[in-house]
Structures are given as C-alpha cells and as structure tokens.
C-alpha cells in the first residue's frame, strides 16, 4: 500500500462524519464556519501577497484536509491557515516571505475584527510568536498529512472541458464556473471528489444558471467520467455557501475558541448566530446532505 502519492486523498464516509473536531465536541455548524473562515483568510491573504491562484487553491485544500485529521481545539484557524499558505506557496514554486505573510494575516485579522489597521512591530514579540506558530503549523501539516501535500487541481481540466463543450466564448459560463471552482475550495468537495468530477460540476452548475442546454444523449459529463449525482451534490455544497452568511465574530485563535464555545449556547439561543436553512430552490437543489456513498 502506497502511503505517498500525487493523487488527491479522498475521505471515507467515516472520516467525513466523525471529524476530530466533532469528537472534541465542536458543533458541526461551528466547524463548517471555521473551515470557511480559514479558507476566506487564505484566499484573501494570497491575493494581497499576489500569489498565483494555484497557491491559494492548494493551501485551502491542505487546510481542509488538515482538519479531517486534527481538531480545531488543538490547532487554530489562524495558524493552520498561515502554515498552509506558506507551504502551498513553496509547493507551487512561488515561495512567499514569512514576514509578508505574517503582516498580511495581521492586517486581515484586524479588518475582520473591525479594528484599525496597525502594522506589526517587525521582530517584536507578536511577530515572533506568529512566526513560531507559522513554522510549527507548516510542520504539523506535513506531518499530519503524511507529506501528501501535492494537490491536483481541476482548473486546467475545467478549461479543457469548456473547450470541448465549445463554451469558452460564452458570456457568463467560463467566468461563473471559474468562480465556483474558487468558491468550492471553501467546502469539502476537494476531499470528497476527484478533480474531473469537480470540474464537470461547476460547468454543469454554471450552465444551469445561464440556462444553457448541453448535450444529454449521451450526457456530456459521461465523456469526463462524472456522475450526475456527484455533480448535483457538489453544486449543493457550492450554493449553500451563498445562502449562509458567516458571522463576524468567529474565533481565530485557540483562546478565542474556548471563550466562544463557553457562550456558544447562549449565542445560539439569542439568535445571533442563527443558521438560515438553505432556501434556494430556483435550481431544484435541496439542502445538502453529506456525500453519498
């Protein structure tokens, strides 16, 4: 049995259902939100750092994978996010500087908290703490993922599929599908499906929204070995993102998480953190169950 591979690791049903955070009594909704928040930070930080999208995409997949083998109680969204982006920048041969990464995270955290931007004192105590945390996080990711850190991404596949389907020049579909790919990084689809299926799903979804009919006899996706059921499921996960707003006070560090959990029930009761059930039936997509297997 090979332990190392260039292929994407795919989770088992059991791994998906009983995440380490769940075992640590972190509510499912909160885990979902924290995963999304962590990915948001990675994407934004990458943009500020002018990293290529392949680095941000890789980092988000690493981040998602990581929290299927480790608990949010033990590793913070901030640290693993920084570590994942740092590692991914190297994996994608566009290494960023530790110092820049820390400054950007500091800036993004302040912005998220609506605090005035205040640059970190270079080589100050906070800087050093963050640097240590980052380096440790990077090693933890490597270690906990067994060095399987080379992520196959669906971007190239998707562009090729668009070509085959003669959709490259369509007004909205390529843009939309590309956007869905970026957004789907914040869901768990990259740990559930192989890149080809994800590429098909975003095209399927974009075409539906644009009300463009694609060949169905035989169904076009069969050419790329995707299944309708999988595409539907991926689409649900993506649409769900747009239906749920992320609260603005989520915990980024372990200490913050502890406090947050103390008040979690109160918060829910008072409705601050109420999760709206997805309600976008314009596409006949019901609420997303976990992956069907």
């Amino acid at each position: 049995m090979s332990k190392l591979s260039l292929q994407n690791a795919i989770l088992t049903y059991e791994q998906l259902e009983t995440t380490p955070s769940k075992k640590d009594n972190i509510p499912e909704e909160l885990e979902d939100e924290l995963r999304r928040l962590g990915c948001d930070f990675i994407q934004s930080a990458g943009i500020v750092l002018r990293l290529p999208q392949v680095a941000m995409a890789t980092a988000q997949v690493l981040f998602q994978r990581f929290f299927y083998v480790a608990s949010l109680k033990k590793f913070s969204v901030r640290d693993i996010g920084m570590g994942a982006l740092f590692l991914a920048s190297k994996v994608s041969e566009s290494p960023c500087k530790i110092r820049d990464l820390i400054n950007v995270y500091n800036y993004l955290i302040r912005r998220y908290r609506n605090e005035p931007n205040e640059p970190l004192e270079y080589l100050g105590q906070v800087f050093y703490e963050m640097k240590d945390a980052l380096v440790i996080a990077e090693m933890q990711i490597l270690k906990k993922l067994g060095f399987n850190v080379h992520v196959q991404l669906p971007y190239g596949l998707m562009v090729n599929y668009l070509k085959v389907l003669e959709l490259t020049d369509h007004e909205t579909i390529p843009q939309k599908a590309w956007g869905y790919l970026n957004d789907s990084l914040r869901t768990n689809v990259y740990v559930c499906y192989q890149p080809a299926t994800i590429a098909c799903a975003v095209i399927w979804l974009a075409a539906r929204i644009a009300q463009v009919k694609l060949p169905t006899s035989p169904p076009w996706w069969e050419l790329f070995e995707a299944e309708l059921e999988d595409m539907e499921n991926i689409s649900r996960h993506i649409m769900r993102l747009y239906a749920i707003r992320l609260p603005s006070n989520l915990p980024l560090s372990l200490d913050e998480l502890e406090d947050y959990l103390k008040n979690y029930e109160d918060r829910r009761k008072s409705g601050i953190n109420e999760i709206n059930e997805i309600n976008d039936n314009k596409d006949d997509l019901g609420p997303a169950p976990m992956v069907t297997m």
């Binding site: 994608s92 440790i136 956007g179 957004d183 080809a196």
Partner: protein
C-alpha cells in the same frame, strides 16, 4: 460573494499556471551551515501512534472504496503513464480509467510486468529486458506520518552532505530499508523547499531505475524527518573503489541504458536532476540501477527561467554552469552522464577538479579550448572573460579511452559536447548504436554480486566533493538572507586574471 477575480483566460491549465510562475522564482539560495551531528531517535511519538490506530481501522474501508470508485487499474508502463499525465487531459485514454463503479480489483501481477509498447527496435528489446517495471501507486490515505519507531536501526550507511542515511528494518514486515534523515536544524524559512522538491520529484518519478520511496516518517521532534526508501546494496562510487577491475563493456552498457532510461523519463517530465554522479547511482544485487538523491532536482518551466548556477557536484558540472550561465537545461544532466560513462569505463573519475578553475582547466585540456565556432554564445557567458586560457586546441578525449570502440567513443564525445544545444539528449542516446553492437548489454540478472558495504560494516567516507551546499538552502525568502549571498566569484567582469574563488 462569488469569487470571480480570476479569469480562465489568464490561465489555461494548471501546468501553465505552474510554468508561468517558474521563471519568477529567482533561485538565489542561502548558504547553510553544515552540521555533522546526527542522532537516532527512539522515543515513541504519541501523536502519530494514535493516528496509526485511527488509520489502521480505516485501512480496509479505504481500500474498498478506492477500488469501488477511484481505482485506476493502470496497466500501462510507468513511463507511459507519466507521459500521459503531463499532457492535455484529453489524451488520457479513457480505457486506463475505470468508468463503471465496479472496476476490476487491482491485480498486482498485471501491473508489475508490462513492457513499453513503443515501436520495435533492437535497443527497445534490451530496454524492455533491462528496465524492470515497478507497481503503480494507489491514491493516498489521508493519514499522518508514522513514527520512525516502526523501523529498527541496523547501521549507518553513509553521511552525505545534507542528510544521514541509515539501514533499518521494518519491524512489521522485516524488510530492510534505507532511511535518509533530512537536515532541518538551521532552517530559518520553515521546511526547506529543496526537501519538498526532493519528495515531490521522487513521487512524480516512479520508474524502475529510480529509487522507490515508501513513506516519510517522523521522529520525536518536529525536525526529525526521514525518507524511507527501498534499501539498495551499493552505490557505484563505493563499489568501484572496491572493485579490482573495471566493469566489463557489457556491464557498462547495461548500467548506461538504465541510467539513460531514468534520465529520459525525468527530462520528459520537465525535471532536471542537477546532481547526477556515481555516488548518487545505486546498484542492487540484481543488476538494477536506481538513481537516488533528488535533493537538488527541480521542475523547470517553459520558457526556461533563470535558475541558480550553484548546482551539480564539481566533477560532474557542465561547462556552461562553470561559466555562470543562468539559463541552463536538461543538457547539464547529460554532461554529468558523460562524466559517469567515462568513470564507469576507466574506473576513475574523468574530471576530478579541485576548484572551479581547475575543473575548467581539466575540461579544456581534455576537450580543447572552446571557441565561438564550436560553441556559439560561449564568449558571452558571464565568466567567459575570466577563465584561464589553455593552449590546447584539439580534443584529447580519444587517448583517454583507448579501449572504447568507435561507437563508444562517439557516444561519450556526444555527451561531452561543449554547446549544450548540440549535446545529445537522453532519448537520442538510448538509440545510440553503441548499445546494439557487440558486446551486447548484459542481462541484469547475470550481473556479478558484490558484498554490500552499506549492508554490513561502515563505509569509509569517500573523497568526491559534494554538491554546493548553497543550493540546499531556501531560496529567496527573507531579504536579510540575501546579504549572505553574493557570487562565489570575485571580480566578475573585471580584470582578466581576477577570476578567483572565495570559498
């Protein structure tokens, strides 16, 4: 909320994404202090133990689900598989992937022995016989690194410049493996990008003549990382030091064919090894060559961007590198292959320079002084003005190899060609008539066996220089580090005689 900041037009495929970025990675690298200290760690790692339990429980399940939905019972030879995966996804033949959810279970037998179905030629049939196939890897489980405690230390094989290599036994299976400990102690920039490349290339480069990596294991602390490889009995350097007589021509051919096959596959996948030398070529007791030590390997983009010039151990370093070119290519590996060829034939290093100038002098004495005519662009290379002028106009290569046939000589001359663009490629070299003339390459199974030094007593350390350690650092990360860099050459472009080494 939708993220539309990235347009498909900007980026055509993932490969291009990578390649577009490659040229921006200016490889200025940080010198790293060498430390000789090394320690075998034997305390257990609680963390990864619990992960182990977790993963064992899952293993059966994962295997099942892989076969069900994600198995790709590839029966094509690994070389072909790699070629396919780097091309347009549409070239991926649907027949190699499972369409039905109930794919045939993966059959080890069918995977392990398929010859490459390329057009027939006599060379090919030798290749087929000489280059044995390896099993195809399955997708990984999402599971952490195991602890090094799963292995029992047997003995230290060799201390390389950057890592220590141990012989060890897998406690569960009894198999003997090699563990290479990565040196991470002094890393300022987290996990070294060179080690990431080493692991990545080894994974990408699954080939019967490239050493097989089994897994990465960790020691007690976060900085103890080991690459677990199949144990290979010999390296060519130590082996030749101990042999009474040189390899036979038939053996040289077999070794060269295997080496060229591995190098051809690497180059085909845009990977340059950058440190080919006899101590990085392993030979097992079944006559199989395994290329090792991908510590300097990297993918290169198209068009070729600037890369660090401080690569390849001195004796095997191509003249364009010695002359400071920033744009080099797979041809640097072919020069090294030429030096290795010469060393195999004569059982002594072909160009054992002591310094870079000495290295150039030795090359010039062997091959004659290069000029614009035989090597266009030569005089414009960064260090071309600072080099010693050797009054040596003609090539003396023939006299170094009195017993080599005309074909053999033709091959080494083509490998040791000054102009990198005219230097023979690995693909071409595989088809060279040298390999089809008598004596024919020896069947690897018929190779003699030698006592394995790594498998027994400690090896004595050898004198061949190591790859420049500058290249092992992390590249271009903190500008504070940049000040430590600078050229190893003083007085660049100044007075003609001012070519001097700092180190």
């Amino acid at each position: 909320m939708e993220n539309q900041g990235y347009s498909p037009v900007e980026c055509i495929d993932d490969n291009n994404l990578e390649k577009n970025n490659t040229p921006e990675v200016q490889l200025t690298e940080t010198p790293k202090t060498k430390t000789k200290k090394s320690k075998w760690e034997s305390e257990s790692d609680n963390d990864s133990e619990s992960e182990q339990r977790f993963s064992k429980k899952r293993r059966k399940k994962i295997q099942d689900s892989e076969v069900d939905e994600h198995s790709q019972p590839e029966t094509t030879e690994s070389i072909r598989r790699l070629k396919v995966s780097n091309e347009d996804p549409f070239n991926q033949s649907p027949s190699t992937r499972s369409i039905s959810p109930i794919a045939e279970p993966i059959n080890d037998m069918s995977i392990s022995s398929t010859p490459s179905p390329t057009p027939e030629s006599t060379t090919q049939s030798f290749e087929e016989r000489i280059i044995k196939s390896t099993p195809t890897p399955l997708p990984p489980m999402l599971t952490g690194c195991r602890s090094v405690d799963n292995y029992e230390k047997l003995n230290r094989i060799e201390e390389g410049a950057y890592g220590v290599v141990f012989r060890a036994r897998d406690k569960a299976t009894g198999e003997v493996v090699a563990l290479k400990k990565l040196k991470l102690d002094k890393e300022k920039n987290g996990f070294p990008i060179t080690s990431l490349r080493e692991v990545h290339t080894l994974l990408l480069a699954k080939h019967p003549n490239i050493v097989n990596v089994r897994e990465i294991v960790v020691g007690e602390t976060l900085t103890q990382i080991f690459i677990v490889m199949d144990f290979i009995e010999h390296d060519l350097k130590s082996l030749m030091e101990d042999m009474q007589v040189p390899f036979l021509q038939s053996e040289v051919k077999t070794i060269m064919l295997q080496l060229l096959s591995a190098v051809a596959m690497l180059h085909d996948n845009w990977i340059i090894h950058r440190d080919l030398k006899t101590s990085n070529l392993l030979l097992n007791n079944r006559g199989q060559i395994k290329v090792a030590d991908f510590g300097l390997a990297r993918k290169y983009g198209s068009p070729l961007g600037p890369m660090t010039e401080l690569v390849v151990t001195l004796w095997y370093r191509a003249p364009e590198l010695l002359l400071g070119t920033k744009k080099y290519s797979t041809a640097v590996d072919m020069w090294s292959v030429g030096c290795i060829f010469g060393e195999l034939v004569n059982k002594e290093p072909l160009l054992p320079g002591r310094t870079e100038i000495d290295q150039l002098t030795k090359i010039f004495k062997l091959l004659g002084m290069p000029n614009e005519k035989i090597w266009p662009g030569f005089s414009k290379l960064p260090h071309a003005k600072n080099i010693p002028f050797i009054k040596q106009s003609h090539n003396t290569l023939r006299s170094r190899f009195p017993y080599l046939t005309e074909n053999g000589f033709d091959l080494i001359a083509k490998l040791l060609t000054y102009d990198p663009s005219k230097r023979i490629t690995a693909e071409e070299a595989l088809k060279h008539p040298y390999f089809t003339e008598s004596p024919l390459p020896k069947d690897p199974e018929m190779f003699p066996t030698w006592p394995s030094k790594g498998g027994g007593e400690r090896r004595k350390s050898y004198t061949s220089p190591s790859a420049p350690n500058v290249a092992h650092g992390v590249e271009k990360l903190d500008e504070e580090d940049q000040t430590l860099l600078g050229s190893i050459f003083e007085n660049q472009g100044g007075n003609d005689y001012g070519f001097r080494l700092k180190i």
